[in-house]
């Protein structure tokens, strides 16, 4: 599966400044592994030993993966993945 992944400003040092990159994988975990293979260092900014880092939000087709299947969320061709840091509203 090939998907577009939107990268937040603070992680673009790993993608050569690219706002969006293409990645492969049938699950989110595989997509993150593919990101790491092509953009070394980005993986550990997204994950720690417990899974998704506390201040990192990842959305598949705009839905927060924490309410889907987390890193095991199935990814289909042409899904859109967005990575964002947690920020305050209000």
């Amino acid at each position: 599966m090939s998907v577009d992944v939107r990268i937040p400003t603070i992680l673009r040092t790993y993608t050569g400044g690219e706002k969006a990159v293409t990645a492969e994988g049938a699950t989110l975990a595989e997509v993150v592994a593919d990101l790491e293979a092509n953009h070394p260092g980005i993986g550990e900014r997204l994950l720690d030993e417990s899974g998704l880092r506390r201040f990192v939000n990842i959305y598949v087709n705009d839905e927060d993966v924490r309410f889907l299947a987390g890193l095991e969320t199935a990814i289909a061709d042409k899904d859109s993945i967005t990575i964002l840091p947690a920020v305050a509203g209000g």
Partner: protein
């Protein structure tokens, strides 16, 4: 309806059906018109509850100075309550909020300290926390962590919804301080546990996410993920499109954050239709569109509106 004072009239807002936007007679959308509160936003509930609680706790008395980080609406609500109760209010507000919010805050007597646009409300929270340390006699009610914020919705918004719509299946609201969703979510967890609690989180332009590193992220202390069924990120294009649709189709003139909420509500409605299940989906109209007229959200093409909202805190 008669009330003894303006503050007594906070809440008790109408719930109106949206017969034209609802996908079928079995899957219905309902708008909770929080713009009918005294300052025209849902934040009146939390502001009044936080000040009431601080008074009961003996933290404030007339003449006290209140401090609050706010992107605008909570500040406006606090200023309205503060003016009537004899408090002074200092708001820390990001500089990339609409000028109407500054005008309204000033009108209700608040003093404004601006925080840098980059980093959005995160920066306002950080600056306010610094100011609080420098001014130990000022009282920061702190909407992001004050239990009275969520409690206001547990005690008023939730029961109002259930009374008006006993068949409710979904509740959809914006995720800012998380107070509305946490309070209403907690209410339904006890009162009607099968109600789905759905968050619509505004996705701003890049400037707002301009943190120096990921460890500077922010999650409100009130947030309890276990109360939510799911959470959607809604960008400005969908938010504006739905805001305009709500006006065009149902005649409701709402702010842009309401468009984001409606987008999530329509997503849940589509799922219900697909599953062949009846649904009564209630969502929050946070405020009217008045404060956002200058943002460009209501004029021109969607592309133009999207461009002009980029970098602004539109929710």
């Amino acid at each position: 309806m008669r009330y003894n004072s303006l503050l007594d009239s906070v809440g008790h807002t109408p719930l109106v059906g949206l017969p034209r936007l609802s996908p079928s007679p079995d899957v219905r959308l309902w708008a909770k018109l929080e713009d009918r509160n005294p300052t025209g936003s849902v934040k009146d509930r939390a502001a009044l509850a936080m000040i009431d609680q601080a008074e009961r706790d003996g933290l404030i008395s007339p003449g006290s100075i209140l401090l609050e980080p706010t992107s605008g609406n909570t500040g406006i609500s606090l200023a309205m309550v503060a003016k009537q109760r004899g408090y002074h209010l200092v708001c820390v507000m990001p500089e990339n909020t609409s000028p109407e919010r500054t005008q309204l805050l000033t009108m209700w007597g608040a003093r404004i300290i601006t925080s840098p646009a980059a980093g959005g409300s995160n920066e306002a929270v950080r600056v306010a926390k610094e100011i609080a340390i420098e001014n130990p006699d000022w009282v920061m009610l702190y909407q992001y962590g004050n239990p009275a914020n969520a409690l206001a919705h547990l005690e008023s918004t939730g029961p109002e919804l259930l009374a008006d719509l006993p068949t409710i299946t979904h509740f959809v609201a914006g995720l800012g301080t998380t107070g509305t969703l946490m309070g209403v979510g907690r209410f339904f967890r006890d009162a009607k546990p099968d109600v789905q609690i759905v968050a619509a989180e505004p996705r701003y332009g890049e400037l707002v996410y301009g943190l120096r590193n990921l460890d500077e992220g922010f999650i409100p202390e009130l947030y309890d993920e276990s109360l939510l069924t799911t959470r959607f990120s809604v960008g400005p294009r969908d938010a504006v499109r739905r805001t305009r649709e709500l006006l065009e189709v149902e005649g409701i003139f709402a702010g842009v954050s309401t468009g984001a909420i409606l987008h999530a509500a329509l997503g849940m409605a589509a799922k219900a239709v697909k599953a062949g299940e009846p649904a009564d989906i209630a969502f929050i109209v946070c405020d009217g569109g008045w404060k956002y007229l200058s943002t460009g959200a209501y004029e021109g093409t969607l592309d133009e509106a999207e461009d002009s909202l980029d970098g602004q805190l539109w929710a």
